[in-house]
């Protein structure tokens, strides 16, 4: 564990000494909870429609697939017309596209970012690496199954899938959301212990708080 994360004794301005534990004192300690849908079905369906038509992707390229996402913004593919846009901060994004292989080091960041996104949120696995490791099946540093760590709504297979495939993936995702099945965030909350167990099994130097909203 990094030295900065160890407990330290602090001397206040009036000379009083006390202890600060960086892992607990700086972070909120409530786990995610299951969020119930809106009051009535109609409203929830309306909301789901709005969510599906307004997919805000977190601009976080985790692997080589990030290069396939750039063309989506160009006139050739023009993902905007589907209500898709990229947001620079996870707070404002709903869709996390895991673009290709995911190393253990990146996984840590992915988990953080995912937990910082607001519910309902969706995860899309892009490329074979996220499905079963793909060509990195025997790599010492690349995860093999994304859904061990995060609830995945949709995989787009291929190595790498072209942008058109991604567009198709968005359309599929929209259908899922509209059908009210895009409840990955609730899934994550429900099986939180399980996900954490998997995450910690792979990330040996777990130096984050358990819940990093």
């Amino acid at each position: 564990m990094k030295k900065e994360l160890e407990k330290r004794t602090i001397k206040g301005p009036d000379g009083f000494e006390f202890e600060v534990d960086p892992l607990t004192d700086y972070y909120c300690d409530l786990p995610p909870t299951v969020q119930t849908p809106a009051y009535t079905r109609i409203i929830e369906s309306f909301f789901n429609w709005a969510r599906s038509e307004s997919l805000w992707i977190l601009g976080f390229g985790t692997g080589c697939g990030a290069i396939e996402m750039r063309p989506l913004m160009t006139p050739r593919f023009d993902a905007y017309r589907y209500g898709v846009q990229w947001r620079p901060t996870p707070r404002q994004a709903n869709l996390f596209v895991i673009s290709g292989y995911l190393s253990v080091k990146t996984l840590k960041r992915v988990i953080r970012s995912y937990e910082q996104m607001q519910s309902p949120k969706y995860v899309m696995g892009l490329g074979s690496c996220t499905i079963n490791g793909g060509m990195y099946w025997d790599s010492y540093n690349t995860i093999k199954r994304l859904d061990d760590f995060l609830p995945v709504d949709l995989y787009v297979a291929g190595c790498m899938p072209r942008p058109e495939a991604l567009l198709a993936g968005f359309q599929e995702l929209k259908k899922i959301i509209r059908a009210g099945e895009g409840e990955g965030a609730n899934e994550y909350a429900k099986r939180f212990e399980w996900y954490k167990k998997n995450q910690k099994r792979t990330i040996h130097d777990w130096d984050m708080p358990d819940y990093n909203w």
Partner: protein
């Protein structure tokens, strides 16, 4: 010509044989205690101002690590690789971050991936790519990556792997 440079330098340092890859790329070897003085000489006197890379090869069978310092003389467009050989057990090499500050990053990587120590190099013990690595360094050839991956990660069932050699052989026979 680089051969003249080699001859000239050989009078000063106990250089090994010259390997000419191209007319502008040569490799020489030198016993590792002389390395830093040779590099300094090349940098200050011969115009090899740029450290292109620093890399290692694990000669497991010989029980040695071979380090290659690739230098570049920009004005003449010459590249010269300097090779040193280290014993594999407790491999330690003198740090050259004083010559090129960038070397520290290479050395940090080598420390993480091969376990070659460079005492005094800034941040050499910090994590580079692998955070929290607790096994033997992964680029060592005695590290079994498949075994590690199976133990560390869950594989998705139903995956098929083809042995590349067999696969290519089959293709070859099909084609002929």
């Amino acid at each position: 010509m680089m051969r003249e440079l080699y001859k000239k330098t050989k009078q000063l340092f106990p250089l090994g044989d010259l390997t000419e890859q191209r007319h502008d790329l040569v490799f020489v070897s030198i016993p590792h205690p002389f390395l830093s003085s040779l590099l300094r000489h090349l940098r200050d006197k011969e115009g090899f101002s740029h450290l292109v890379l620093l890399t290692a090869v694990d000669w497991l069978e010989r029980g040695e690590f071979q380090l290659t310092y690739l230098l570049c003389n920009r004005s003449k467009a010459w590249d010269m690789g300097v090779r040193v050989v280290l014993p594999r057990e407790g491999a330690t090499m003198e740090s050259i971050h004083t010559l090129w500050p960038t070397a520290a990053t290479y050395q940090r990587e080598l420390k993480e991936m091969f376990g070659i120590d460079f005492p005094g190099s800034p941040g050499v013990n910090d994590d580079f790519i692998l955070e929290g690595w607790d096994d033997i360094p992964p680029y060592r050839r005695d590290f079994d990556t498949l075994k590690f991956a199976e133990a560390r990660f869950t594989q998705r069932p139903g995956r098929e792997s083809l042995d590349p050699a067999q696969h290519m052989a089959k293709h070859h026979s099909d084609g002929s």
